[in-house]
């Protein structure tokens, strides 16, 4: 469904991506892993159109999308949920969600999408008239994911859905992501919480210095010595810590 091929790009004159390639099949859930500053978020931004790749190609659903404006990529059914739980704090929860359906002209379809988001995140329905600036971290993340689902996309890209959240909330979010994928959504997920991501994903890529370093089925990666050493921590204690804090 999504094919990224030899993408080179960055910000201004700083090159971050040095020829990254990856594939996501329809209905698949894929994890993109890597430490800080390895190019994970930059790659997602290149796919969603926030930055234009300098070279390489990005194909979604059989069409080239590299260099397209972000809203046109949303129209084609590919949505990115950014890191940092960014909402519009002056808008209510429902207004935030409705904005996600901006490309949907069919009102009935938008309101069905809203109902579906409320079944994934019932707390948002309770809080729908509340200003989103007053929500907790977990609820903000729910608004962000919910907003991404509002245009009924074919595929969603999540940038660190677990970052800066309490462990229990992380579990909740991951459970809901799991539910969303079971309903047929294709997901590309960037995570620093490697263990959780690999438990959820079917396939994983590890990015390093802007290129894909290691790839493989998730159950193999989780036992891969390189991945284990670099990202899961060498000792049992560290592993437990990484599972607990989401670091």
């Amino acid at each position: 469904m999504l094919e990224i091929k030899d993408v080179v790009g960055g910000y201004g004159s700083v090159q971050v991506l040095n020829g990254a390639s990856l594939k996501v099949a329809r209905g698949q859930i894929v994890a993109l892993l890597g430490g800080n500053g390895t190019g994970k978020s930059t790659l997602l931004k290149a796919v969603s159109g926030l930055i234009k790749p300098w070279s390489g190609s990005i194909t979604f659903d059989g069409e080239r999308i590299d260099g397209l404006r972000p809203d046109l990529i949303v129209r084609r059914g590919l949505v990115q949920v950014t890191q940092g739980k960014e909402v519009f704090p002056g808008m209510t929860v429902e207004e935030n969600l409705k904005l996600g359906a901006f490309v949907v002209r069919d009102r009935a379809k938008a309101s069905r999408a809203l109902d579906r988001v409320y079944t994934y995140f019932p707390i948002l329905k309770e809080r729908r008239q509340q200003l989103s600036g007053t929500l907790s971290g977990g609820q903000l993340q729910m608004v962000c994911i919910g907003r991404g689902l509002m245009s009924s996309p074919k595929m969603i890209m999540l940038d660190e859905p677990s970052s800066a959240l309490a462990p229990q909330v992380v579990l909740d979010i991951f459970r809901t992501i799991h539910r969303i994928t079971q309903d047929g959504m294709t997901v590309l997920m960037v995570e620093q919480n490697v263990r959780m991501a690999l438990l959820l994903a079917e396939y994983g890529y590890v990015i390093m210095d802007g290129v894909i370093h290691i790839e493989g089925p998730a159950d193999q990666l989780i036992h891969d010595d390189n991945v284990r050493l670099s990202y899961l921590g060498g000792t049992v204690a560290n592993r437990e810590a990484s599972l607990g804090t989401g670091a």
Partner: protein, 296 residues
Amino acid sequence: MGYFIDLVIIGLSIGMVYALVALGLSLIYSGLDIVHFAHGEIYMIGAFIGLMLFRHLGIGYVPTLLLAVVLTGIVGVLIERVFYRRLTSTGGGYTVAGMGMIIAGFGMSIVLQNVAYLIWGPKALPFPVPYGRPVEIGNLALPMSYVWIVATALILMFVLNLLLKKTMIGLAIRAVAHNKDIAYLSGVNVPLMISLIFGIGCALGAAAGVLIGPINYVQVLMGLSVLIKAFAAAVVGGFGSLPGAVLGGVLVGVIESLGAGYVSGTYKDTYAFVLLIFVLMVKPSGILGVEAKVKA
């Protein structure tokens, strides 16, 4: 007492004119992150367009106002698309403001003044609108022109509020004003919204120009003093805040009018700035201003 009420009414209506210009400034600032220094000239162009429509088409004042507002809005969109966009898109983004944009604004102001000069000449032109008899309330005779200004400005503000709060377009405009990346990722055509924001800002400026025309004359240099007053109004109310722009405009207008009536008309233009300095000392973010918002 009658004198005081007269002054307040005059100040209120002039204040509404400032408020409309300040609303445009604030809207453009919140949407494009630029302070538009050519906005006084947009107001002047709007007034001239209104005057020409009124004189040559023989249509009434209300159609004149609406048509001038729409036409000036289109002029604004063209200016943004053709000139400003080149500057804001240089960094690959859409909000690279900085010095370049400020100088471009001043440049645009000079260009528009000269274009207006070439078309309409240096003379102050009358904008004769047959308003009819003043409205009498008790022993007060309220000139219709003032009633018109206040009523029209209130209607425009009401419509703007409705647009921003109740429509999808308004939701998108507010999103673009807060965070352009997230607006983009929500599927909003950000460049189009930016043009729209700029157009609406210019349309509000034009409305102010057409409203003031019948009271003052219409002339090429009418923009500067209004820009400065509107700027003061926007800062007093809290730059970027739309209710603040209205409040600031009204305050500036009323204080100016009272100062001119009770202290001295010679220093009419200074009262706005005394108010500005006072507000900046007490609450630097403006009366309704919030702490500097996080920009995308």
